[in-house]
Structure formats: C-alpha cells, structure tokens
C-alpha cells in the first residue's frame, strides 16, 4: 500500500485534520507508553499499514507531513452535503486535478446553489446566485416593466 492510497479515504480538510490529530496522538503514545500505542481512532487500513512498518514513528511523521501538504480545493456551497454527494464531488475533483487533493468546504446559503471554487490562488464563481444576478441584470428592464403596475400617467418622465 502506498501513501497515496490513503488519500482516497480522505475527502475533506476536516477529515484530514482529524486523522492528523489521531496520528500525532499515536506518535505521542509511542513515545510515552507501548501499551496504549494503538489506542487511536483511525481507519483500519491506516492502522494496519503503520503497524507493519519497521519504524512506526517515522511512518507516522511521513504520513502526517504528506497529509499537511496535500492540495486543497476550497469550495463554498449553499448547504451541507450528504456523504454520497461529497464522494462524487471529491472524485470529480480528483478526475479534473489529476493529483491527490481534498476539499475544504464552507457553507454559505447566500450563493443559493452551485459552488465557488478556489484552487492554488485562482477563483471561480459557479454559484447559482451569480448566474441569477447575471440573468436578472441582463433582463432588468423587461422584469421591471412586467413588475410595474400598468396605469395611465405612470410613465417615467423623459
């Protein structure tokens, strides 16, 4: 098993942070007491892999370092996403970026739908709020005409 194989298990920065925290805890345990060294909440694949390494502390350090260096795609969504959707989105991100990456998810209902995406200093606004605003502004006069009550003498002064 390679390090990169673990990245498929991790979709978001919160998951990554939790794993890193557990790895640090494991590392500390290894220094302090061999009895409770494995007393951590980690995926069994990770635990098994580290357990088989000759130098566990070194393996944990390397894995922690890689996890901290992994590419992060920041996405703002309108609502919290179910696990299944998150998985699909993460897979889409991996497919497009073609390197290991995780998602940093920010919830902002103002964007209505879609996502605002930031990656390596670049930003793209694919939110439904932006698309709505663009459409509304493009058709502003038509919308106002339809919204305004049609009464004689109500015309705008020229």
């Amino acid at each position: 098993m390679k390090y990169s194989d673990f990245f498929e298990l991790i979709k978001t920065t919160s998951e990554r942070d939790a794993i890193v925290l557990e790895l640090q805890k494991w590392q500390n345990n290894l220094y302090e007491s061999a009895d409770r060294a494995n007393n951590v909440m980690l995926d069994s694949k990770i635990v098994q892999w580290i357990a088989t390494q000759p130098d566990k502390i070194k393996a944990i350090k390397e894995l922690t370092s890689l996890l901290n260096e992994i590419s992060v795609i920041e996405i703002t969504t309108a609502c919290d996403l179910p696990e299944k959707s998150l998985e699909k989105i993460h897979n889409k991100a991996l497919e497009l970026v073609k390197t290991p990456c995780i998602l940093k998810i920010i919830i902002d209902p103002v964007i209505v739908g879609g996502a605002q995406i930031t990656f390596q200093g670049k930003y793209f606004d694919g939110s439904l709020a932006k698309k709505s605003d663009e459409y509304f502004h493009l058709h502003r006069q038509q919308i106002i005409t339809e919204l305004k009550p049609q009464q004689p003498g109500n015309e705008k002064l020229q």
Partner: protein, 204 residues
C-alpha cells in the same frame, strides 16, 4: 417632497417680493401724478380768477367813464343819451360774452395741455409698468422652468430608486424561491457543473 416644497417656497417668495416692488412703484407713480395734477389745476384756477377779475375791472371802469361822460354832456338829447347808454350796455354785455369766450378758450387750451401732459405721463407710466411686468414675467418664468426641471430630475431619481428597490426585492425573492426548490441531488449536480466550468476556466 421636502425638496419640492422648498423650491415652491422659494418661487412663492420671489413672486411675492416682485409683486410688492411693483405695488410700491405703482403707488409712488400715482402719488407723483396726483401731485402734478393738483399743482396744474391750482395754477390754472389762479390764472383764470386773476384774468377774470382784471377784465371785469377794465370793463367796469370803461363803461363807468363813458356813462359818466355821456351823462354830463349837454350836447346830446335825452333820447341820444338813452340810446348811448343802451349801446354802452350792449357793448359791455358783448365784452362780457367775448371775455367769457376768451376765458373758455384759454381754459380749454389749458385743459388740453393738462390732458396731453397727463396722457404723456400715463404713456410713460404704462411703458415702465410694461417693462417691469415683462421683467417680472421673465423672472417668474425662469424660476418656474428651473423648479420644474429640478422637480423632474428629482422625480426621475425617485423612479430610479423605486425601480432599484423593486428589482432588489424581486431578485432576493426569486433567489430564495430557487434555493427552496432545490433538492440535494440538484445541489450535487450544480456543484459538479461548477467544477466542470472551473476546469473550463482553467481554475482547476
């Protein structure tokens, strides 16, 4: 609305001041005219009275002298004397009539002169009033045009503000309805599309 009220207030103030000035000017011209008319009439009356008195004195004196001379002479008969006295009386009456006509003529001429002077004054007054009215009218018209223009600009800005508010409410309401109508599956699809678009824009 406060702005329009202030504009109308200013316009009303300008109009009131202009009317007040016009009234004061009119009063002064009328007073001057009255004074002049009074002076002319007083002078005319004075001249007429003086002329009448002088003429009457001359006629009286001449008639008296002639009558006395006729009465005192011994060379005329009583009939001749009587005829002469009648003639004298006729002459006196004739002179009186002529005097009256002369006085009437003088009076008419003076009245005509007064009338001409009055007419000239009236024309002058009318010209001044017309000019003043024209200036006032232009001032009021300019003020009204400015007020109307500003009111129109203000009304247009209000319309724009109202349209902005209407559009903002519509936009917010539409987005809220759109958000509520989206299912989790819709959200997922939209996010996946956003990723594809981001790729197309070379963000990913």
């Amino acid at each position: 609305m406060i702005f329009i009220a202030a504009l109308l207030g200013v316009l009303l103030g300008v109009t009131s001041i202009a009317n007040l000035l016009l009234l004061r000017r009119t009063q002064k011209l009328k007073a001057d005219y009255d004074d002049l008319e009074k002076q002319v009439r007083e002078k005319l009356n004075s001249l007429l009275a003086e002329a009448t008195q002088k003429s009457l004195d001359i006629i009286k004196s001449t008639a008296a002298d002639a009558t006395q001379a006729v009465k005192e002479t011994r060379f005329f008969s009583s009939e001749t004397k009587a005829q002469f006295l009648r003639d004298i009386e006729l002459v006196r009456e004739h002179d009186k009539t002529q005097l009256a006509e002369t006085l009437s003529h003088v009076e008419n001429e003076m009245v005509n002169s007064l009338k001409q002077a009055t007419k000239s004054m009236e024309d002058d007054f009318k010209t001044q009033i017309d000019g003043f009215k024209k200036t006032l009218s232009q001032l009021v018209e300019t003020s009204q045009m400015q007020a109307k223009k500003q009111a129109q600009e203000y009304q247009n800005s209000l319309y724009t503000h109202a349209e902005d508010s209407l559009f903002h409410v519509f936009s917010a309401l539409s987005k809220e309805l759109l958000k509520r109508s989206l299912t989790p599956k819709d959200h997922e699809t939209l996010i996946l599309e956003a990723f594809e678009e981001a790729r197309a824009h070379e963000v990913l």
